[in-house]
Amino acid sequence: MTGHRLAVLGAGAVGGSVVELAADYGHEVVAFADSSSAAVDPDGIDEAGALDRKERADAVGDGDPADALAADYDVLVEATPTTLGDAEPGYSHVEAALSRDRDVVLANKGPVAERFADVRALERDSAGDLLFEATVGGAIPVLATLADYGPRNVSAARGILNGTANFILSRMTAEGLGYEHVLAEAQDLGVAEADPAFDVQGTDAALKCVILANVLSEARADDPAEAREFQLTDATVEGIEDIPGSALELASESGRTVRLVGEATPEGVRVGPRLVPPGSSLAVSGTRNLVQFEHEHCGQLNLSGRGAGGPETAAAVLADVGRLS
């Protein structure tokens, strides 16, 4: 594998970790931008300097973000925050890179969850490729496994795809504590964000399942351009906010447990709290994520690991970069 020249957009936990770890994986960062500044250097930016400046001054360099997008890179790493609806500005970043025949690796779920058909159309007209392993299940090689084992052979994918929700349900069950109490604890631990809505209402898990459904559906279409497309609005989504501790106790008494389970098939997406039977591999604890494929030849195939985190997700991004020719 030869090293690639990366432009990294987004300087949050994931973007920052990609910049920090790129050299370990044999790549060079030639541009790095957050929403208001950029560091660009055709000979490779000063990674440590940019990250240090981001921490101290909330800027990664003196340049304009547009400079990063216009830089001379091989691969654009899109790690700006996930947005719904038009998926901007992520979508425009993808469009800019593919129109220049550059490859794109996404950590941002928006473009492939909300505008899958649009980004695939851009990719078809481009010499560049689009990969998005990091959008589903963090460090877990979900999409690469799906691609290797044939998405046509997978009738359903289900899983525990949100570590925050799973942590809250696990703690409530184990400690007999109420939702609000455990949520506050999770926020103190940094497991839940100050505004946890995206996680506890099931939106984040649903976006990941929508991406999986898009991949499963596309694989079955004779013409990929005609494949049924899924968006968040096509998903049936319920969260965990209204689950009282008493319900979890009743579940435990019968040997079961409640988990926020996401299911994706070529026909649809459903996310909601479900009663998981005793001994099920889906009964994972804490922030761990797990994805389970129903495969025609393999039966059940389970993959588990950390579903979030800067270095974890960056590893998935850099694995994608390594897959590019």
């Binding site: 209204d242 009282p244 008493s246 009743l250 579940a251 988990r259 909601g272 479900r274 129903e294």
Partner: protein, 203 residues
């Protein structure tokens, strides 16, 4: 994995249709000692005598064979022949039959107790008492083929708080989906939350 995938995959074999017909063939008594229909899917090694070896433990353990569908034209990727056996037996004998098959070294892919969950456990959350709990339970039994096998209520701490209940429903083969749907409808009407069981192995 077996049924749905095969049904979708190719120019329709008769497998799914035949299984459905067999399931319709029984009246609908509740539990008791009356024989109940079951479906078992096996995968046989392609060797002489295997089918007989599979059927013997069923007869030996109190099962009455209803039909056998030997899918020779549908060999699995592992080179085995799928066989679907419909049988009836008293409710307490079914597990013994499945165990006996496994002891004989048969590859039991699905036994309907696993596949359809003849028992179904779910949770109801909300203002259960205020919304007339006995009416809720009564209607679930009335409008499904399910009967309430077990019920636990965790009463709310204060009257304003929500309470939770665990229901164990005994459903007939194939009755799980419609039972869940009915519970969902009744719950929606009363603004209750249902936590449904996850059925692995189906899409």
């Amino acid at each position: 994995m077996s049924d749905p995938a095969e049904g979708d995959g190719s120019a329709g074999t008769g497998g799914a249709a035949e299984a459905d017909d067999a399931d319709d063939a029984t009246p609908a008594p509740d539990g008791g000692e009356r024989p109940q229909p079951h479906t078992i899917r096996l995968e046989l090694v392609d060797e002489p005598g295997q089918l007989l070896k599979a059927l013997q433990p069923i007869a030996d353990n109190g099962g009455n064979l209803l039909s056998i569908f030997h899918e020779r034209g549908n060999i699995t990727p592992r080179g085995r022949i799928p066989v679907e056996v419909d049988l009836e037996c008293p409710p307490d004998r079914f597990e013994g039959i499945v165990d006996a098959l496994r002891e004989e070294g048969m590859n039991v892919i699905q036994a309907d107790a696993e596949r359809y969950g003849e028992e179904l456990t779910l949770l109801l959350i909300g203002h259960l008492v205020d919304t007339d709990l006995s009416d809720t339970l009564h209607r679930i039994e009335e409008s499904t083929t399910a009967s309430l096998a077990d019920f636990s209520l965790s009463a709310a701490e204060g009257t304003d708080e929500v309470s939770s209940a665990r229901l164990r429903l005994a459903t007939r083969s194939n009755g799980t989906d419609s039972a869940v749907e009915t519970v969902r409808d009744i719950a929606a009407e009363k603004d209750l939350t249902v936590i449904e069981p996850l059925t692995e192995g189906s899409a």
